[in-house]
Symmetry: C2
Subunit: 357 residues, 2 copies
Amino acid sequence: MVPTSPLDVADLGDRVHKSLEAFLGRQAATLDAIAEDLGPVADALTGFLLDGGKRLRPAFCYWGWRGAGGADTDEIVTAASCLELLHACALIHDDVMDGSDTRRGKPAVHRRFAMLHRGEEWLGDAESFGRSAAILLGDLCLIWADQMFNESGLPGDARLRAAPTYDAMRGELMAGQYLDLLEQVLGGRDVDRALRVARYKSAKYTIERPLHLGGILAGATPQALDAYTAYGLPLGEAFQLRDDVLGVFGDPAQTGKPAGDDLREGKRTVLIATAVTRASAGQAAVVRRLLGDPGLDDAGVQRLREVIAETGALDHVERLVEERTAEATAALAGAPIEDDARGVLAALAQAATRRRG
Amino acid sequence: MVPTSPLDVADLGDRVHKSLEAFLGRQAATLDAIAEDLGPVADALTGFLLDGGKRLRPAFCYWGWRGAGGADTDEIVTAASCLELLHACALIHDDVMDGSDTRRGKPAVHRRFAMLHRGEEWLGDAESFGRSAAILLGDLCLIWADQMFNESGLPGDARLRAAPTYDAMRGELMAGQYLDLLEQVLGGRDVDRALRVARYKSAKYTIERPLHLGGILAGATPQALDAYTAYGLPLGEAFQLRDDVLGVFGDPAQTGKPAGDDLREGKRTVLIATAVTRASAGQAAVVRRLLGDPGLDDAGVQRLREVIAETGALDHVERLVEERTAEATAALAGAPIEDDARGVLAALAQAATRRRG
């Protein structure tokens, strides 16, 4: 028997997909009623949302609800699925900011609209049109996330109760994104600062807040929410650290991004900051020369990988991932939450930090 | 005695300012608690929101509420003020998309962050940093708009009732923005298509939906909402047409934008589409040569203005503004709304369409 991924317990992956499909179908019809010209907008967002994504944030939200005693309903699955739209906004805007060409193994949204522009032989600059369209599509995802949540069918009082958490989560995401941006232009060599980015950009946004959101919707006790924090923050850091490692050492077939993409972008992550801190003069010279070179070739990627491994930064970060994941898992033991959720959250901790893409 | 602007009846301008100031003060403290590095984010948004803006959308929302019998409370002023944050998102992202350097007579947000980057001698490209920061700040405004609405103190049931209208308004705004973008790359010479952009980008978003939002929050009857539509849609078109005229013929001291900014950007508005449709071969050649030239000088702006006036497009659009405004005002006569709101809405129709900036 094939072991089930914790992301698929209670058929969650499939149900998230279906609820996104239903919502996006309605939104496509609304756009079409405004103007047929909006077809490419609906198509691009439908493609983006239905054609990939690990559904990790909906899973944490759903199990946050279940852990707090919420029943398995389609309404909570729909509400949780809205987090995929919020995340789509972050990714689409991120790709514009980074100038990344690829997302989930396909052209990024701004590239897709640049290609549309070229194909139609429209006036003006295709790249600029692509970026502008992607800014608007990201905005639309941010808006649609709320709308999907509002239309989930969850009772009004639950939605009102969850609003402050939802708003805080989104604000923290954008604050984390700005701090990340800042870290790049500061040439971040400070491990603590890089960890702070990981905390806001991932730990709170990806894990703690989705758990809280689900918990609060179900009327969780403060003790249960505290347990979600004790589990969510270390796990979220481990999740981001795994992301950092995959951005450098990941297999393109599994990450959906070109090999060494973070190196070419010069991303200042905890992994890179650690490598820079530990580097010898010779190693530091290699990093300075190659990191952030947009034209970095495979040999350059390989050279940087070697240096990062040789400084011991890779082992160090892998150890941090292990420690943080163990800390998260330990926090589940005495947590005042439902046992089935406890089991799935333990499995999700492994899935989030041992993934390859 | 100085005649009071309808935007200041019930001290509205001042109260909107104060409620934004209070909200932004709280948000700045929240950002500061995350990281001191977020100071420039809070400063830029506080400057943007408190240092300009006509407060037109909050006014329509507030009077939509009062017209439906809502009492004059601080809660509705705060809820209405959130529309300034939503609009800030649209403007900040718009300036990135257009590459506009100036907004409200000051550097656009992306320029401000590019200057910060240069001043601090950070790594990488200053313009790219500025654009990325502005994308994130616009996202933050979109999020904060909801949060300000949620924290307005209005009862939960009213907020739940208004959510579908709020979501539709925001979706229409982004759809209108995309159609506008598309019109530019299509070289729009179609007056009907340009009017459709005006309808979604302005008529619904700027006037009809804010009125509905206020009305629904106050529990308006369907008849009152219909009256708001009959008033709001023609007025909104007139508002956008006035914007089109100001973008070409406006005085920089009053618009806060350089003279002829829309001409330099090559904006395809109803005014331009009308001029192109009516142009002789010689006039059309001038338009083709000068419209959309980023380096267009004052003489070029003057030449294009003359051609647009000579084709009769300016007179035609001014006539449309008059007709639509009269239509809007006529719709107020029998509207089943409170008399004080009827009076202020009539004055707002004049203020929105006779403005110089």
